[in-house]
């Protein structure tokens, strides 16, 4: 057997010895969908609705008012 034949035989054996199970169809489809989305420029950033924005804005505003002592003044006026 020549060296090249020897190489061919061992590569064929290796090819047979390494199992290839087909990809899980759900993984195949999920990856395709995600990759297609990126390719077609689908927006991946989180889109915020006005309700989603309301909570952090309220918290920020409340924090700011507390910081400047607005609550204490309001309590002094109306309390």
């Amino acid at each position: 057997m020549t060296e090249q034949e020897d190489v061919n035989v061992s590569e064929r054996s290796l090819n047979e010895a390494l199992p290839v199970t087909p990809i899980d169809p759900s993984v195949r489809m999920r990856v395709q969908r995600k990759a297609r989305g990126i390719y077609e420029g689908e927006k991946t950033a989180i889109e915020w609705s006005w309700q989603d924005r309301l909570v952090p804005i309220t918290l920020l505003l409340a924090g700011f008012m507390y910081g400047i002592g607005a609550f204490e003044r309001l309590i002094a006026i109306f309390g």
């Binding site: 190489v7 047979e16 010895a17 199992p19 990809i23 990856v31 390719y39 420029g41």
Partner: protein, 200 residues
């Protein structure tokens, strides 16, 4: 003659697909995926020897390909391009694995998938399992080059995927075959040990 025409036809279709991908045409990516996803999957599964790891890398490979498709050049070859991305993802994952003690511990505990398909039975389960153990005991660099050769790539294409010179590829391939043979021989002569997976 007909074969030449077929090769020209395949190349012409590839050039057309590269053009469509670089221009972001709808449907082009699905075409690329349906053409090549099986080969990328088999490469990654064989390279890692683990289904869960191969699935992660498979996803990362295609997401990167989707991001980079618009940068394809007219002369780009799609399959080597995809193999390059897949190989780089594997390399990068291996590097991070060094810092991921939990994953490393899991890899050491979990057995490699055994060859159970019909081909392996024909070859002889014992022989196939020995060959498989020897293959996964090789360093990453040797496994990569052997797999690319199994995939039918010639030295210039392997050189492109691995970012090496052609003569370096030939040397690495020859060394990998020798290492594989030596490992099989040492397994045959010595007691059966659990495969120690190396990373280059």
């Amino acid at each position: 003659m007909n074969e030449d025409l077929d090769i020209d036809d395949v190349r012409a279709r590839e050039i057309e697909l590269v053009r469509a991908l670089s221009q972001g045409e709808r449907g082009a990516f699905d075409k690329l995926y349906s053409l090549h996803h099986e080969r990328i999957w088999s490469f990654l599964l064989r390279l890692t020897g683990r289904k869960d790891e191969a699935e992660d890398l498979f996803q990362e490979t295609w997401l990167s390909a989707a991001k980079a498709a618009s940068q394809l050049q007219a002369e780009s070859r799609l399959l080597p391009w995809l193999f390059t991305i897949a190989r780089n993802k594997h390399r990068s994952a291996r590097r991070f694995l060094l810092f991921d003690l939990r994953k490393r511990a899991l890899q050491a505990l979990e057995p490699l998938e055994e060859a159970e398909d019909a081909e392996a039975r024909i070859l002889g389960a014992e022989e196939a399992a020995g060959l498989q153990r020897a293959f996964y005991a090789l360093p990453d660099a040797s496994r990569e080059v052997l797999l690319l050769s199994l995939e039918g790539f010639d030295a210039p294409h392997i050189a492109g995927v691995l970012g090496l010179r052609e003569d370096a590829v030939r040397k690495r391939l020859s060394r990998a075959r020798t290492e594989l043979r030596t490992t099989i021989e040492s397994q045959a002569s010595g007691p059966r040990a659990a495969p120690a997976r190396k990373s280059s």
